[in-house]
């Protein structure tokens, strides 16, 4: 550590994602924390309507049969989820167990909770004018009695999944082992069915 050598915080904003207080529209830019636009209670309710069933499974199969259909569907998902969550289309959605705050908007893309650098005022260590997305996740989950969700062990993501529709992956049952309760003696880190690489 050398005094006075830290670059100004504004050094690499680069204008790629607009004003830091606004949501990250440009998913090519570096991730920055996004506070979800919709309240957690509403999203948990919507989640119930999206739960996999025979209809959604058939819809997923139908979408995957045609690259054009799939592309249009994924683009729609991206537009909707980017607007609400700052979604970056990792394709392996963990929102239902993070209070519907997206951990992929964390500058370190942590899937297992906040880093040790959160400011005493709750600010992100990388973007001090933004609130830590994990802190937002904890508050939202706790507010809905879902704090135990944050104790789940999140497995490493499959980077081949970027750009895929996480809704299709969810309905097709590929998301089932993104996380584990981890209360046994030695939870397995490997996923039974990696999400990506099968289209």
């Amino acid at each position: 550590m050398t005094v006075g050598q830290r670059p100004a915080v504004t050094a690499d904003r680069g204008g790629t994602a607009g004003h830091p207080g606004r949501r990250a529209r440009n998913i090519a830019a570096r991730p920055r924390p996004v506070r979800p636009r919709l309240p957690a209670w509403l999203l948990y309710r919507i989640q119930r309507g999206l739960a996999p069933n025979a209809f959604y499974r058939r819809l997923a199969e139908w979408l995957e049969r045609s690259p054009a259909r799939y592309r249009i569907f994924a683009a729609t998902e991206k537009a909707v989820k980017n607007e609400i969550f700052g979604c970056r289309m990792c394709g392996q959605c963990t929102l239902p167990v993070t209070g519907y705050a997206c951990p992929m908007t964390c500058p370190k893309q942590l899937r297992n909770g906040p880093c040790g650098g959160v400011g005493s005022d709750g600010s992100c260590e990388v973007y001090p004018d933004l609130r830590c997305v994990w802190l937002v996740a904890c508050e939202r989950a706790e507010g809905r009695g879902r704090i135990a969700d944050l104790h789940l062990l999140q497995r490493p993501i499959d980077h081949r999944g970027w750009g895929q529709s996480s809704w299709v992956n969810y309905w097709a049952g590929r998301d089932e082992d993104l996380w584990t309760a981890g209360d046994g003696p030695a939870p397995a880190i490997a996923r039974r069915a990696p999400a990506a690489g099968r289209r």
Binding site: M1, T2, V3, Q5, R6, P7, V9, A11, D12, R30, P107, K108, Q109, L110, R111, N112, G113, P114, C115, G116, G117, V118, G119, S120, G122, E125, V126, C132, W134, L135, C138, E139, I147, L150, H151, L153, Q154, R155, P156, H159, G182, D183, A186, P187, A188, I189, A190
Partner: protein, 334 residues
């Protein structure tokens, strides 16, 4: 190669474990590491060799660890997720085991924004919890993330880090719980300056029985000048220094500030060791590694006393208060 860890023996023996951080140099001279670690031999169980601390380019974690090993001081190799993807991380971990590095401490790491190359690409392919989990899988299941076999598997002691003071404070013990579930056997904390806040975190830790599964080493360090105090306050992410510390440092003549800082550090060491469930301390004194023995001596953790019961004999009975003679010495020169 199977490396035996003196740190593991110390943690298992219920005596006060002591580790310290030794920052590798920015330069190509191995003597720079040797000079820092040699005076520490016998004072502690192991030295942490950071992995580009504060996201600055330094001699690498494994090279520093090897030099420490050759100098007769057991290394703890720190590994961060900042600069390597899962392929490089597993290769480096495997290599550390092959070279006889017996301990690793695994963490997410500082963002490059805070370092000397803020223009670098942050990797963060996996996070700190997943890295601990990966290491445990490599060691205990003898498998890589891909499922392929490692033969023979490594044998390191696996550690993690935690910051008990950063929001959301209520979640911090649970976060350590995730690391323990992933395979962390010990944890080194962020600098402790706020004893009541640390005690509250330790209470959460004990409530979930975590101190039994994951040994707690409290992070401590001397603040040797008012300038250092201000620097730490404004530049180290997630660090909380109560006003009382500043008041005490400002209350002594300028030429006594460094000494007062060391005394305060020794007092903090004694106080944290009285908290039930604390297994030891991790001393961080960047640029002042030569002063670590003096701090330990003032705290009653003198070299000769390392094998005797710890300094704390508090009124309240607890796991930390019953320190017995451990097996073997802390001098691991070979």
């Amino acid at each position: 190669m199977t490396a035996t860890s003196a740190l593991r023996r110390s943690l298992e023996s219920a005596r006060t474990a002591v580790t310290a951080e030794v920052g590798p140099p920015r330069g190509a001279d191995p003597e720079a590491v040797r000079r820092k670690v040699e005076p520490l031999r016998g004072w502690l169980d192991a030295v942490n060799i950071p992995d580009g601390q504060s996201a600055h380019v330094r001699m690498s974690n494994w090279a520093g660890s090897l030099i420490a090993l050759a100098a007769g001081v057991e290394p703890v190799m720190q590994v961060t997720c900042r600069d390597r993807n899962r392929i490089a991380l597993q290769s480096d971990l495997m290599s550390a085991a092959a070279l006889g590095i017996p301990n690793v401490v695994l963490m997410t790491g500082d963002h490059p924004r805070f370092g000397d190359h803020p223009d670098a690409k942050p990797v963060f392919d996996i996070d700190g919890v997943q890295l601990v989990w990966t290491a445990r899988t490599m060691r205990d299941e003898g498998r890589l993330l891909s499922g392929r076999r490692l033969d023979p598997p490594p044998s390191w002691l696996i550690g993690a880090v935690e910051n008990p003071f950063a929001p959301p404070v209520r979640f911090r013990a649970a976060r350590l719980g995730k690391k323990a579930a992933a395979g962390a056997e010990f944890v080194q904390t962020q600098f402790v300056f706020d004893i009541p806040a640390f005690a509250r975190w330790m209470s959460d830790v004990r409530d979930s029985g975590l101190d039994q599964r994951c040994k707690i080493l409290a992070g401590v360090g001397p603040i040797r000048s008012l300038r250092a105090l201000e620097f730490m306050r404004s530049n180290i992410p997630g660090l909380w220094i109560p006003d009382e510390i500043g008041r005490r440092l400002r209350g002594v003549p300028a030429d006594r500030v460094a000494d007062e800082g060391m005394t305060m550090c020794a007092e903090i060491i004694q106080q944290v060791l009285r908290i039930p469930g604390v297994s030891g301390v991790h001393v961080m004194a960047p640029g002042f590694e030569q002063g670590i023995p003096e701090v330990l001596a003032r705290a009653g953790l003198a070299r000769a006393a390392r094998d005797r019961p710890g300094p704390a004999e508090p009124a309240a009975a607890g796991t930390a208060s019953t320190r017995v003679t451990g097996a073997g010495g802390s001098d691991h020169a070979d």
